[in-house]
């Protein structure tokens, strides 16, 4: 017995759909089996919340009088990219405020950047827009300095080229005698701690490991509002080795997502300051998975104990692309607070918030139950394990200049 998207959406419209969170689905499948679970449940809500680089907002400020073709722009002193059109600006999550001392005094604090601009905008705070231009006959204006507010912007779109990594590394410091400051947080010497970043069994792509239902056009919870999967994310790598359940043993799939910033909330969109590393944006994402058949019920029954992550040394191996993982641990091990690496007990810490992921899965469940959120049937699947798509390192080539 199988269901279609249309059938499930018809039930959602009539408020008759059975919607459960991914956490609840584990128990249902364990108690009743996948077949009965597939019959009973229509939608499983998955979610994740954590710092996600490769995020940013596209803002269209509306035209000035006289008109201006913005060449250079800053939002609260954070440079925004204006080389798209006249008044379209892209503010990237990892951009630093101009004049930030970065790592000149190590480790840098990175107190404000692109991620914080986006958070300030969704909080409804005024943001200072400064812009310069060379001036043309049709766009004569050369300078602009004004306050802007999200509600007044012509368009504001959160447009993140790579979010929701399917799985991720566990970071440790195996060789440096001092603490190292990485995007995986502060890693203390002699493997005093191990940091991980995934919602594990609640995470969207771990509940649909071969991308059967999550594809281009999937409607999602994005930053507290509604968004869409608009493409596979950059660095999407379905070729990563997988276990017998199809779950990748490392990184693998990613999502490019888009949504109207005006409907979002700072509860699920937060600027982050990663000591010694830089700034970014923490994003909350929720993805509904239609339980089309028994296979999808089985996929969404995945447990933390079925998912492993590679333990990677960030003092030498990661920065220099050397070596092999120091081991593999399950998310059940990581969540226990300690893992064993080479016989040593190492304290674990999470960078992704399970509490927020649970909150998002619950909210999305409520939206669907209320009939206000329909499932989007993908118009195109994401490249899957047999697509041939893989991850390429940059091959550097010498530049020969002709005289």
């Amino acid at each position: 017995m199988s269901k279609t998207y249309d059938e499930i959406n018809e039930k959602i419209r009539k408020k008759q759909a059975v919607v459960v969170t991914a956490a609840e689905m584990k128990t249902i499948v364990a108690d009743r089996g996948a077949k009965a679970a597939a019959k009973k449940v229509d939608v499983v809500t998955t979610a994740t919340f954590g710092p996600m680089c490769s995020s940013g907002a596209l803002l269209n400020t509306g035209h000035t009088t006289p008109r201006m073709k913005i060449q250079k722009a800053w939002l609260n002193r954070v440079p925004a990219y204006g080389g798209i059109a006249a008044v379209d600006l892209y503010v990237g999550a990892t951009e630093l405020a101009e004049g930030d001392p970065a790592n000149k005094v190590f480790p840098g604090e990175f107190s404000y950047g692109g991620g914080h601009v986006i958070e300030d905008l969704v909080r409804g705070r005024d943001v200072v827009l400064k812009a310069e231009a060379y001036g043309t006959d049709c766009y004569p204006r050369q300078a602009l300095e004004t306050l802007v507010n999200l509600k007044d912007l012509n368009d504001a779109v959160l447009w993140n080229p790579r979010n929701a990594y399917q799985n991720y590394n566990v970071g440790v410091n195996a060789t440096s005698p001092r603490p190292i400051y990485t995007y995986m947080g502060v890693l203390r010497p002699r493997m005093a701690n191990a940091n991980y970043s995934s919602a594990g069994e609640l995470s969207p792509l771990l509940n649909d490991p071969r991308y059967r239902t999550i594809g281009i056009g999937t409607r999602i919870f994005l930053g507290g509002g509604v968004g869409y999967v608009c493409f596979h994310g950059t660095q999407h790598d379905p070729s990563v080795a997988r276990n017998e359940r199809g779950v990748p043993l490392g990184g693998a799939g990613t999502l490019a997502v888009i949504g109207d910033l005006k409907g979002m909330s700072a509860r699920f969109l937060r600027g982050v300051s990663i000591t010694g590393y830089g700034v970014s944006l923490a994003v909350g994402i929720g993805v509904p998975i239609p339980i089309l058949d028994e296979e999808m019920a089985l996929c969404t029954s995945i447990r933390d104990s079925d998912i492993t992550a590679p333990v990677v040394d960030y003092s030498r191996n990661y920065p220099h692309n050397e070596g092999e993982p120091l081991g593999r641990v399950t998310y059940a091990d990581l969540r226990s607070g300690f893992i064993k690496i080479g016989g040593r007990k190492v304290r674990t810490g999470s960078l992704s918030s399970l509490a927020k992921a649970k909150e998002i899965a619950g909210l999305l469940k409520k939206w669907i139950e209320e009939g206000s959120f329909l499932l989007g049937e993908p118009v195109e699947p994401l490249p899957g394990p047999s697509s041939g798509k893989t991850f390429r390192m940059l091959k550097e080539r010498p530049i020969r200049r002709r005289r």
């Binding site: 954590g50 947080g185 191990a194 607070g337 810490g349 960078l351 918030s353 509490a355 649970k358």
Partner: protein, 145 residues
């Protein structure tokens, strides 16, 4: 033996007198200085963990107060803003004393102020800047905990 966190505020008239040295020698208490900012011609402050017998501690704090040192015994060694916190748990991997832990039932961070030893390893590990040191509060904004 008892132990307490203490904040001392020194008036600038005391800058040339080694009052903490007197406290240690005359009252037999241990003073573990976590942070101090004491410069000539300015009021100074110190955040320390003080340990000793009850009678010795009472004597030491009495001596300091008699010498115009303001003694504040804060309820917490850190300021943790639960509203700013997203409950990721990055702090829990840094905390050597188990003051910051994740509650397995709710997946939320719990801070047990009594266990905090003011090592401040959690502060740079928090990407949301939800944890602030007593030292930064002493230097300016916000109430002491």
């Amino acid at each position: 033996m008892i132990q307490t966190s203490a904040i001392f505020r020194f008036p600038k008239s005391l800058m040339d007198r080694p009052v903490i040295c007197r406290v240690i020698r005359d009252f037999d208490v241990e003073v573990n200085i976590i942070q101090a900012h004491i410069t000539p011609e300015e009021d100074g402050h110190m955040f320390a963990i003080v340990r000793g017998r009850k009678a010795a501690m009472d004597g030491a704090f009495g001596f300091l107060r008699d010498n115009d040192v303001q003694v504040i015994l804060p309820a917490k060694n850190l300021v943790w803003d639960e509203e700013v916190c997203v409950h990721c748990g990055a702090c829990t991997a840094q905390c050597p004393s188990g003051a910051f832990v994740l509650d397995p039932a709710t997946a939320k961070v719990i801070f047990d102020a009594k266990k905090c030893i003011a090592c401040e390893l959690c502060i740079p590990a928090c990407s949301y800047r939800a944890i602030e040191s007593i030292g930064s509060r002493l230097g300016g904004k916000g109430d002491l905990p």
